[in-house]
Amino acid sequence: MSLLDVRNLRVTFATETGPVQAVRGVSFSLGRERLGIVGESGSGKTITGRAVLRLIRPPGRIEADAMTFDGQDLLAASERDMRALRGKRIGMVMQDPKYSLNPVMTVGRQLTEGLRLRDGLGRADATAKAMAALDAVQIRDPDRVMGAYPHELSGGMGQRVMIAMMLIPEPDLLIADEPTSALDVTVQAEVLSILDALVRDRGMALIFISHDLRLVARFCDRVLVMYKGRVVEELAAANLLAAQHPYTRGLLNCLPRIGGPRGPLPGLDRTGDWAT
C-alpha cells in the first residue's frame, strides 16, 4: 500500500516569455521507504517536492493525472485540507537554515508555534515537547537554543533545529530538500546520521532531494534521476552502479574515485534524445 502516489505530475510557470514547464510528467509511488530524487539545478526536483505539498503559487500551476496521499486526493483537496496535512502529516526540511528560519523570531517561538496554534497546546506543554524534540536531534543545551535567534546558531545547529521543528508533529512523510547542501562536510555527516536515526525510529517515509548522487545512493532505498523536468531513470539504490541510462551513467562517470584513473574527468554528453 503506497503512502504517496504521483502520476504524470506537470508544473507550469507562466513567464513573460511564455509558459515554462518545470516538471513534465513525473510519476512515482512511495511506501514507508526512502526515495531519493537526484538531478542537477533546473531539473525540477525541488519543484516536485513543493508540488506534493501544493506549495506552488501562481504564476505556477500544478496538474497531474493523480496525486494521492494515504488515500486523500491532493489535487482536489481544499487549501484548508492541505493546511491540515502540512506539518501534521507531511513535513519539509529545506536547505539553508539561515534563510528558512524566521530571523526575527526566537527558535522557541518557531518550534512551539505549530503546537500551540494547530494543536492547541498550552505554553508549558508545547515548550516541553519542543525541548524534547531538540534533545532528539542531539542539541545539548536546549534552554539556550530555545531563546536564541536563528542567526546566533551555526549552520549545523540551525539545520538540526529545522529537523526538530518538522518532526515535532510526527509526520508520516518527510520531504528533505537538499538538507545538507549548505553545510560543511564534517557537519553533513552528523546531521545525516541524526536524520537517518529519526526516520528509522519513527518509521517515516522520506523523499530525499539532492544533487549528490553518491549521498542519495547511500541514504535511500530507491532513486529517481531527473533531468529537465522528467524522470530519466528509476532504480534501487543498490543497483545504482549498474545504471543503464546514459545520463545516469554520465553522472556516475563524473564522480572522482580513489584509486581510479588519473585522466581528466569526463563531462556530460547532452546530445542524446533524452536531453530535450
Binding site: 506539518g87 529545506m94 539553508d96 534563510y99 530571523p103 526575527v104 539556550r144 546566533e152 546558531l153
Partner: protein, 354 residues
C-alpha cells in the same frame, strides 16, 4: 558542541554603551554642521543686519554700538562659537520683527505643526501599511494596480496644490469641513481664555479639559489638512510597505511557515510583518520628517499657525534671524528623528543587536 557564541553580559553592555556613545558623537557632529551651515548662510546676508535694525538714518556711533552689541566686530570663528553656545542653551537670537526671543516664539508655534504632522502620519500609516500589504499579496491584481497608481499620484503632487484643491472641493464646494485656521474664532477665544493649555495641541488639550464642543470644532478644522497630508504620507508608506512585503514573501522562511500548516493571515501578518516592520520604522520616521518639512508650504494654505507659517511669515518680512532659527529647529528635529529611527531599528532587529 554548543555552537552559540554567547559573550559575557558585561561585554554586551559595554558594547551597547559604546554604540550609544558613537551615536551621540555622530549626532553632535551633524548638529554642529547644521549650525555651521545656518551660521554661514546668516553671514552671507547681503543686507547689513545692523541697517535693518536701526535704519539708514542712524549715526556712525549708533551703528557701531549695535554692531558691538550683536557681536559682529568679533572674528568669524568667535562669532560662530558664541552662536553655537547660545544655541545649545536654547537661545537662537531675537526676531527682527517682534524683538522677542525666537526660541520662545517657536515654542509657541511648534505644537500646531506637531499636531498636524502626527495626525497626518498616523493616517498615512493606518491606511498605507494595509494597502501596501494588500498590494504585495496580490501582485498584478486590480487592487495592486490601484494602490500603486494612487500612491504614485500621491507623491507626484505638490502638497500645497493638493491643499488648495482640497480646500476648494471639501470646503468651498461641499462644505464638509471647516475652513482655514485651527478653530473658529469663538472657540479660539474659549480655548485661550477659559481652558488650561497642557500641550499646545488643541485636540489633546480640549479633550483633557472636557470641552467637547471645542474638540469637535478642532476636528472639523484639522481633518482636511491632516487627511491630505495623510494621503501624501500614505503614498510613500504604501509603496515601501509593498516593496518590503514582496521581498519578505519571497523568502524561504515563509515557505517554512506554510509547511508548518500556518494559516495565510498568520504567515503574512505575523511572520512576514515582523520582518517588514524593521525597515518600515525608518520609512515612517522619514515620512514624518517629510511632513514636517512640507509644513512650510501647507501651513500658509490652511492658515495654520505652526512652525511652517512662522518661517514663511518671517521670510516675507525679511526677518532672517527668525528664518534661520526656524531652519535650525527643523533641522534638529530632522536629525533627531533620523537618530531615533536608527535606535528603534537596532532595538527591533535582533540581527542588528550584535
Amino acid at each position: 558542541m554548543t555552537g552559540i557564541p554567547a559573550p559575557p553580559r558585561d561585554n554586551r553592555l559595554l558594547r551597547l554603551l559604546g554604540q550609544i556613545g558613537l551615536g551621540l558623537v555622530t549626532l553632535s557632529i551633524t548638529l554642529l554642521g547644521l549650525l555651521l551651515v545656518t551660521f554661514l548662510i546668516g553671514r552671507v546676508v547681503p543686507i547689513d543686519p545692523v541697517l535693518s535694525i536701526v535704519g539708514e538714518r542712524a549715526t556712525e556711533a549708533q551703528m557701531t554700538a549695535i554692531r558691538i552689541k550683536l557681536g559682529l566686530d568679533l572674528p568669524l570663528w568667535r562669532q560662530f562659537f558664541i552662536y553655537v553656545t547660545d544655541a545649545m542653551q536654547g537661545d537662537l537670537g531675537n526676531s527682527i520683527r517682534t524683538g522677542e526671543s525666537i526660541t520662545t516664539e517657536i515654542a509657541r508655534y511648534f505644537p500646531a505643526t506637531l499636531e498636524l504632522s502626527t495626525l497626518g502620519t498616523i493616517f498615512g500609516t493606518l491606511v498605507g501599511v494595509p494597502a501596501g500589504v494588500l498590494a504585495a499579496t496580490k501582485p498584478g491584481s486590480i487592487a495592486d494596480q490601484i494602490v500603486r497608481v494612487v500612491g504614485l499620484m500621491g507623491y507626484s503632487m505638490p502638497v500645497f496644490w493638493l491643499g488648495l484643491i482640497g480646500l476648494l472641493v471639501f470646503y468651498g464646494q461641499l462644505d464638509w469641513v471647516a475652513g482655514p485656521g485651527r478653530l473658529d474664532p469663538v472657540y479660539d477665544m474659549q480655548m485661550q481664555f477659559t481652558l488650561t493649555t497642557y500641550t499646545g495641541m488643541i485636540l489633546i488639550d480640549s479633550a483633557l479639559n472636557g470641552a467637547w464642543d471645542v474638540f469637535g470644532n478642532a476636528i472639523s478644522h484639522i481633518i482636511l489638512p491632516a487627511g491630505l497630508l495623510g494621503y501624501v504620507s500614505m503614498a510613500y508608506i504604501s509603496r515601501m510597505t509593498r516593496s518590503f512585503m514582496m521581498n519578505e514573501l519571497g523568502q524561504e522562511y515563509i515557505t517554512t511557515a506554510r509547511v508548518k500548516g500556518m494559516p495565510e493571515w498568520r504567515v503574512i501578518w505575523v511572520h512576514a510583518m515582523k520582518n517588514v516592520l524593521v525597515p518600515l520604522i525608518t520609512v515612517i520616521a522619514l515620512s514624518y520628517a517629510f511632513l514636517l518639512e512640507g509644513s512650510v508650504l501647507t501651513e500658509t494654505i490652511f492658515a495654520w499657525p505652526g512652525l511652517g507659517s512662522y518661517i514663511t511669515d518671517a521670510l516675507f518680512a525679511a526677518d532672517m534671524p527668525a528664518v534661520l532659527g526656524g531652519t535650525v529647529v527643523v533641522g534638529v528635529v530632522f536629525v533627531t528623528l533620523n537618530m531615533a529611527s536608527d535606535i528603534l531599528y537596532r532595538l527591533v532587529d535582533p540581527r542588528a543587536r550584535e
